[in-house]
Structures are given as C-alpha cells and as structure tokens.
Symmetry: C2
C-alpha cells in the first residue's frame, strides 16, 4: 500500500552504464536477485556508506575499493552478508573475483553489495552460477529491470531520471533505490545507484553525492533503525560530449548538482512512500531552530514517536502527542511559550498551547489526507530541517513479525 | 494482557497517610477518577518530575510547592491539563484552593496531579464537585482503591509494599503507580506515590527518591515517549516510633533505602508488564561498557527498535536486528569483534558474528518465554546498565490508533 508511488516513470539510459539482471534463486527459485552493473572505462565513482558499526562485509569491501578504478558493481538480494565476520568478507571477495575472471578485469575493480537476511552465510555458489547470465544481459536499457531486481520487502520498484541540455548536449542523471524497512539512513539509504554520463572527477563527484545524500537519503526515516548495509553510489561515465565538470563550471555544475539532488530526493522519498505498512507520507518540517542539530532532534523525536505514528495511521489530529514529542527532544532551554505547531496550513498550537482558532474538524480534515505536513516553529533562530517519514500501521507489525530481516 | 502481573499484593497501610477516592465523571460517569491523599502534619515530601519541556500545569505547580509544607495531594485522571498554558495553571490552582478551603489548610499545602488527554481544558467544576466525597472517604486502608483510581489505559492496578523491623518497631513503605503508554520516564514515571511512616528530613528523602527512581522508573521504556505529566512522590509521615533516619543511621538507613528501592522497582516494572499491547516483559542488560551512558545508549537503541520489538512479539530469535541496533547506537569507536550477545543463557553472537554453537532451536526456545533477557557484552570496560521494556504488538497499534492520549 505504497503512498503516492505509481509505476516507474521513464528511466533514461545513461551512455556508458549498463545493467544486467539474473536469477540465482537465493531465497526463491526464479526470482531476479542478482544485478550486475558495468561502468565504462574511465568512469568516476563516488559512494556513501552506512555508519552502523556492524557494517556488512560487502560494505567494508566496497568502501575500500570505491576510491580506486571501478568497472563493475555486483548486487545480490536475499542475503545481507552482515554479522558474518571474516568468512563473510572472504565470501564477498570470492564473488567479486569470480565476476572479475568472467569479465576480464582486476578483482579490485568489482564492488559488492548485498541486502536481505542478516547473519546467514552468503550462498556463494548460487551467486557465481548466475554471473554469466547477468553479464549476457547487460544493456543500457535495463534500469527498470534492475530497479525490480534489487527489491526485498519493497512493494514497488523505485527510480527517477532527469535530463538537461548544455550547448546542445543532453546530460542524463538516472537512479534507482530499494528499501522499505530498517530505514534511517546514516550517510546513505539501503541501496541506491545513480549514474550520469557527465564527466566528473572523483573528488567532485564525492562532494556532489555527499551533499545530495545529506539532504535526501539522510533525511528519511521509517523505523529509526539504521541498516548494516546502507550504500549509495554515484557513477559518472564521462560519455557526454562535454568537458569535465568542476565546481568552476558555473551553470553547468549547478544544473548537474540540481539533477543529482532531484534524483536522490525522488528515490529517497520513494523509499518512504513504500515504507513497510505505510498508509501516510509525512513531512516533518522544523523551522526557527537555533541550530540545525536541534531542528533534527525535534524532527526525529516527532518522526520516531510510535504515539504520533499510530495517531497518523488513525488519521487522529492528536496534537498533544506532537507537543509531548517536541518537549522531550532534548533541546536545551526550550521555551515552549514560543512554539507554534501546524498540521498542513492549520495552526493547532500557538505559543505552546492549543490555538484559540483551532477546531477538531480542521485537524481531522488535514489528517484525512494521504500526504501530511507537520510544521513546527521553534522561535529560537533561523535554522530549518525537513524529514520524511511514515505512519505506524497494523501492517507494519504484521510484516515485521513475519519477515526475517 | 499484562505480562506476569497478578492481582495487587497486600498493600500495608502507612500510619499518617490516608487516601480518599471519588467520582467526578470526567470521562465517564461513575468512574473513580479523583484521588485525594492526606499526609499527617510534619510529613516530609520528596518529588521527581518530568524533564519534558512541555510539562503540564499541575507539574509546574507541584514542583514549586513540593519543597514547602505539604498536607494534600490531589490527583485526577481523564485530563492531563497539559499544553493548556496560563489558563491551565489557573485551573490547577483553583482546584487546589477549593480543596484547601474544604480541608482547612493553606492552598500552598495542596499539590495537584493530572493524567489523561493532553490539551483539553481541565473540567474544574466536575473535580470540585467530587472533593468532599473524596475527603469523606479518607482512610489509611484505601491504597488498593487509590491504585485503581489513578488508572487510565492501565489494565491492572499497580502497587507494592515492604516492611522491616528495627528494634521491635515495624517500618512500612507502600507505593502505587499508573502508566501503560507514553512511557520513557525522565526522572519519574507517569504517576507514582510512595509513602513511609519513617521519619526522614526532606533533603535525605529527596536523595532516597532520586536514587531509587534513577534505577527503576528511569530505566523503563514502553514507546520511548516521555510524558508531559510524569511525577513520582515519596512521603515520610514520621509516625513510626523511631528517631529520625539520616545517612548516618547505618543499618536502619540501609533498610529504608532498600525498601524504597524495592517498592519503586516493583511498581516501575509493573508499568512495563502492563505496557500497551505487551505480550513480553523484556530485560535488556548491557555489560562491559566504558561508560554508563554508552550502556544506556545501546540499551535504549535495542529497547526502542521497532524491528526488535516486533520480532519479540513474533517470538522470532532475529538476532541480526539486535546486532544492527547495537551498531547504530552511536558508541564511538565500537569494536564489533569484541561484542557477545545472549538471549537468556544462549550465546547467539560471539565476537560480533553468529556463535558457532548457536542453533535456531535454542533461540526459539528462549523467545517462546513471556519474560526474556537480552544481554549484550560490549567488552570495553566495567560499566553496566539494565533497562526493562515490552514488545510491539498489533494490540499496541490498535490501542494507540483508537485512544486519545
């Protein structure tokens, strides 16, 4: 029951970036669960990775190799290869080495990504058995299939694409993501892959991705649980007939930055829209903070409150729970008499108490919508932050009481 | 469906402390919703109060008056008088003044407590109408009725009692509490009242309560939401025929301290056992921390994780989710290769990965119990902390999607 998330829009191919999908039968026979991505020679690659201390074996390896020459990204679903220690690392290296041999590249040029059950040994032979089929399937036109191939508890594939033109040359930015639970990214989402045919040096690309991820992937939360396997990669193939783009490229740099940001934001929000059991897409906007951190503290206190999330599920304008969450967010010397809270455009609390103009009917009308904005004005300064989240439904409990992460 | 919580055990009367219950019909006609407690002249009173910045009007008033002479505690359920601003403060003062007139004491000697819906005006007239009946009902034998009178979403009343003898004189400590949701106390629980007939000066009493609350009320969490109305009061009437107890009283002080602690712990854990929708009572024990704070950070990351809580509900030994929560708890330079995790006595993860000896059957056997201990050994130092919490069930969502806090 994804909220406001339709079929995939057109995902424009990115010259120099191919995707191949195959079935290794990791959890279910016949399911597409292995995705190989090939970057043209000379591509730059940037990555942001989970800050969970229990980061998975493939994350350790991908992080180490991302700064060198990268030619292939190898992703499997159904098994996260996390909490698997040294044998897990060996298994990740072995799948990469097998792909390197088939593809004729050095094994250090292959980056592994895994998502699925934590703590089970990676079924290496099954994955190796699917690699040739994935290579045979490589095509620049396979973004939609790959978006489906990386899904786990996702109900819909997630992707976004932007194009802009500079001096008659079209530049494409296309990306896909997966994730629906264990979502509070800390540097990246569960898995995200974005590619562009612009030519960008690695350092610049890394800055572009870090900035975009901070304002998109790092501002979504479903259940507050940061995954062990979060990774987001940005690849620049350099195939567009344009000079290298740097911070000094003026409007061209700005256009690329905007396109990368928009793709990140769209696929990050798609994860929330497809959040486990989600019936609401909720924007929590905190304005007037003295610091960005206190805006985030307040925003996450609201976004993670099970009481607010169940009230959202029930379409109940239970503003007392919002005030309580703001009050416990740990903001030092918070003067509640300066705080206003809005549900959509309706002022529900003014100067720390129920707004005189507020009626239950106004609140109920906003809460009945599928997409809801909670806006909190702290009255302490000029900083703002926005976070996107879901409600907490019966379906969430059902999914997570039955599915083995 | 409270976990391991039976009918009230015997609550011994505390000489010099009387309780009176009446019905004001705040939410439902006929429901006992007003409790008046009278402390004998010369009693000492200590209190700990919520640190939520949006603390309710009665909390503001009770906190201010607690350090002076206290004769009456006035509690109502059904309305929290929180988020009500200056009019809320006036309403709290007015109910206290009305009780003071009827009882013939100064209004500053009456402390107000409210619990229930946030943000609605306090129904002052209804409460005033019930005061004489509550006063007429005052008796030292009414602890059980009062435990019922302060309930909101609680399914069972909560109380505990301890007695010890010193030089032939019996000293009693009896306490009651309420709370089932919006529970992550920060200095105290939703509402707790503990009385003793020992003679203790206010400063000593405050230290006793702070220590006991820190290890009991401040270590429980149901949903991570600190209430606006948390208060816990400890009253010493001095009616026991013993000299004043101070830190210098040796074994007598130790016995009182232990009794206060045990009563606090029992009524605090009773709140978790009666947690909204709870089907499990879960102890999260974190050992081997370099600091107490990092033990708490890890403990709360586990105790608040919706993924772990739903796995507990499903009796699923999903240890990967526990590792993931430990890893995201924000402990600096966490070396995962030193971490062991136990479910009951079963080692599920050793040195950061699945224990070689572990079988799914062992984990499933522990998870099938109603009372479960998750023990995490960080291997960083000598600090320990223990937190008590519940699972996350369908019933939790149902209760909070339907009940207006």
């Amino acid at each position: 029951m994804a909220v406001g998330l339709g079929p995939l829009s057109t995902l424009h191919p990115v010259p120099g970036f191919e995707l191949g999908i195959a079935s290794a039968g990791i959890k279910r026979p016949g399911r597409k669960d292995v995705v190989v991505m090939r970057c043209a020679e000379g591509s730059s690659v940037a990555g942001v990775f989970t800050l969970n201390a229990f980061c998975a074996a493939p994350v350790i390896l991908a992080k180490k190799r991302a700064s060198g020459s990268v030619r292939y990204l190898l992703t499997n679903t159904g098994n996260a290869n996390a909490g698997t220690g040294e044998p897990g690392l060996q298994n990740a290296m072995r799948t990469c080495a097998s792909l390197a041999i088939l593809a004729g590249v050095d094994e250090s040029e292959v980056l592994p990504f895994s998502t699925g059950v934590i703590g089970e040994p990676l079924p290496v032979e099954k994955i190796e058995g699917a690699l040739q089929a994935a290579l045979d399937n490589l095509s620049e036109n396979n973004w939609a299939d790959a978006a489906t191939g990386i899904m786990t508890t996702d109900t819909l594939p997630k992707g976004a694409s932007r194009q802009f033109t500079h001096e008659g040359v079209t530049v494409t930015v296309t990306g896909i993501s997966k994730g629906a639970g264990m979502i509070k990214p800390n540097m990246a989402t569960m898995l995200g892959y974005i590619a562009t045919d612009a030519k960008v040096a690695q350092g610049v690309l890394q800055d572009l991705l870090r900035d975009a991820a901070n304002k998109s992937f790092n501002r979504i939360t479903i259940d507050g649980d940061t995954s062990t396997n979060d990774c987001c990669m940005l690849i620049a193939t350099g195939k567009a007939a344009l000079p290298e783009i740097t911070q000094a490229s003026g409007a061209l740099f700005a256009a690329l930055k905007q396109a990368v940001f928009e793709v990140c934001m769209e696929v990050a929000q798609a994860i929330v829209r497809d959040g486990e059991g989600a019936t609401k897409f909720v924007t929590v906007q905190v304005n007037g903070g003295a610091t960005h951190q206190e805006c985030l503290d307040v925003g996450y206190a609201v976004a993670h409150s099970p009481l607010i999330k169940t009230a959202l599920f029930a379409s109940d304008p239970n503003w007392g729970r919002i005030l309580a969450a703001v009050g416990r967010a740990g903001v030092a010397q918070l003067d509640v008499s300066k705080i206003d809270v809005f549900l959509g455009e309706v002022c529900i609390a003014s100067k720390g108490c129920r707004a005189v103009s507020y009626t239950e009917e106004q609140g109920a009308a906003v809460m009945a919508e599928e997409e809801i904005t909670i806006r909190i004005e702290l009255g302490r300064g000029t900083c703002s932050e926005t976070i996107w989240t879901t409600d907490l439904s019966h379906e969430y409990v059902k999914i997570n009481a039955e599915y083995r992460t």
